[in-house]
Amino acid sequence: MNFYQEITLIPDAEISPYFLWSKVYHQLHIALADVKNKHGIDGIGISFPNYRFEEKDGKTFATLGTKLRIFANTEDELIKLDVNYRLERLTDYVHIKPIREVGSQAKGYVVVKRHRYKNFDKQVAKFAKFKGISLEESHAHCREHKQPIKYYPFITLNSETTQQPYQLSIWQEAVDSPVAGKFNTYGLNSLSGSVTVPHW
């Protein structure tokens, strides 16, 4: 992850950042799918430098912030992605910095995942079946060890095929050491992935 490009949403009194995120991410998703299909590029990762997710006193504080970084291993991959062209129609609403080297500014690493909520009851049932135990026992176990529902910040996207809106929940966490690998066409890890991008 040596090169990156930074996108900042321009503040606007009337147009909410999440409306803009939805428009921006829609284009990025298409662009990432495009470079994957055309050039087989699948090492482009995305992070949100101002991401915050905190749970305190039963309250959740979740925000994506208004910045996004796109990381790639080579400059050529970002040139092929051509974010400027992809976001051309959003010029008054996003500020795009030129492609730069990450260099020594990175202070650490983050893993960014798409979080998909698994229905808790189904998890309980599945685990009960798997272990051959009663639902109550399974329920007790799952409350201990399985992920309860969390309200991560999300971007609402519209499916091109079904026209249905769906949520892209983002889960971003700092980790100690870098892991190389591939990303999906959202520029994210799936729930089990652990590929990192630099963070500062």
Binding site: P11, A13, E14
Partner: protein, 336 residues
């Protein structure tokens, strides 16, 4: 009468100087020369959503109860509006009447005060002129800021402004939203028209049409109606202009005029222009950018200027005049 005996009139109100109509939404196909413009309608749809609001604490901490709660379908009736599949262009129209700006209040119960006030406005007209304000209003007409969310992501937007028999064409995307110093011949012409309306030289009524190419069948964003009684009716109601039974989508005149007067980038530490408001309030952000304690709000500037003769700097003069052009009730009685 000496200056220091002057008091703000207890009854003081200004009519708005820019009279702006509702915006009506129409649609057409840019690829087909023969295509007729037809209205964009608001449709009601019933959707089966999911529960996605934050749960009450008691529920959120109780895992057994939580799940049935989050599994419940969230049935809603909402309004939505989009272009037909055969059309890719949103056509939005409104008219703007420019009345003469003399500084004469609509209602004022103190003659001495009124004289002082008129003197201040005349002084501004002579020394600064309304050219700067006119240019900014013109910019907001041609950059299509007034399309609000419909502007985001549009491929091209053409704005046509006509006055009497003259018409000007603009490419809205050439005029960035965050600056007012575009150098453009046609824009200067439009600013001239607005200026001649403000000075009372001519009677000016502009008709404005924007053609925004947003894509076949894409969603458009009319104004949303505020729902005051939360019964079990629709959770989202969009604005229907004119005859309600026609379901003609459109935008409130307030929404359009808010965009046209988004010219205030003179507030402290300005990062982007905001609509001209007495306290620089932007309700969507929950912020007032001109706090009374900084003495940069309309009332501080205005009172010092009219009552004490302390002339603010040029930018703040523009701002104060912008508020008078916006209109409102500025008397002393309600503020005690």
């Amino acid at each position: 009468m000496a200056k220091n005996d002057l008091k703000t009139a207890s009854v003081l109100a200004f009519e708005r100087v820019l009279d702006i109509s509702d915006a009506f939404f129409w649609q057409k196909d840019s690829q087909d020369k023969e295509s007729k413009t037809s209205i964009v309608t608001v449709q009601e749809k019933s959707v089966r959503g999911t529960i996605s609001n934050r749960l009450k604490n008691a529920i959120a901490n109780n895992l057994v109860k939580l799940d049935p709660e989050t599994q419940k379908a969230n049935l809603q009736k909402v309004d939505a509006s989009s272009l037909d599949e055969s059309n890719d262009t949103l056509v939005a129209k409104f008219t703007c009447k420019v009345l003469p700006f003399t500084g004469k209040p609509n209602v004022c119960n103190d003659q001495d005060y009124q004289q002082a006030l008129m003197a201040v406005v005349q002084d501004y007209q002579q020394n600064q002129g309304v050219g700067e304000l006119a240019k900014r209003y013109a910019t907001n007409i041609v950059n299509a800021r007034w399309l609000w969310r419909n502007r985001v992501g549009a491929e091209t937007i053409t704005v046509m402004v006509s006055f009497n028999d003259d018409a000007l064409m603009f490419n809205a995307k050439d005029f960035a939203l965050n600056t007012f110093n575009h150098d453009d011949k046609d824009l200067a012409q439009l600013a001239k028209w607005i200026e001649s309306g403000l000075t009372g030289e001519k009677f000016v009524i502009l008709s404005v049409v924007a053609y925004a190419k947003i894509g076949y069948g894409q969603e458009v964003y009319p104004s949303q109606e505020l729902i005051l009684d939360t019964g079990n009716k629709k959770s989202k109601v969009l604005y229907r202009v004119g005859d309600v039974s026609k379901n003609h989508a459109g935008m409130h005149s307030q929404k359009v005029s808010n965009a046209i007067r988004t010219i205030d980038d003179w507030y402290p530490d300005a990062k982007f222009p905001i609509a001209v408001e007495p306290y620089g309030a932007v309700t969507t952000l929950g912020v007032a950018f001109r706090q009374p304690k900084q003495k940069q709000d309309f009332y501080s500037l205005f009172d010092n200027w009219v009552l004490k003769g302390e002339v603010p700097d040029i930018n703040q003069q523009h701002y104060v005049m912008g508020v008078l052009i916006r209109g409102g009730v500025f008397g002393e009685s309600g503020k005690e």
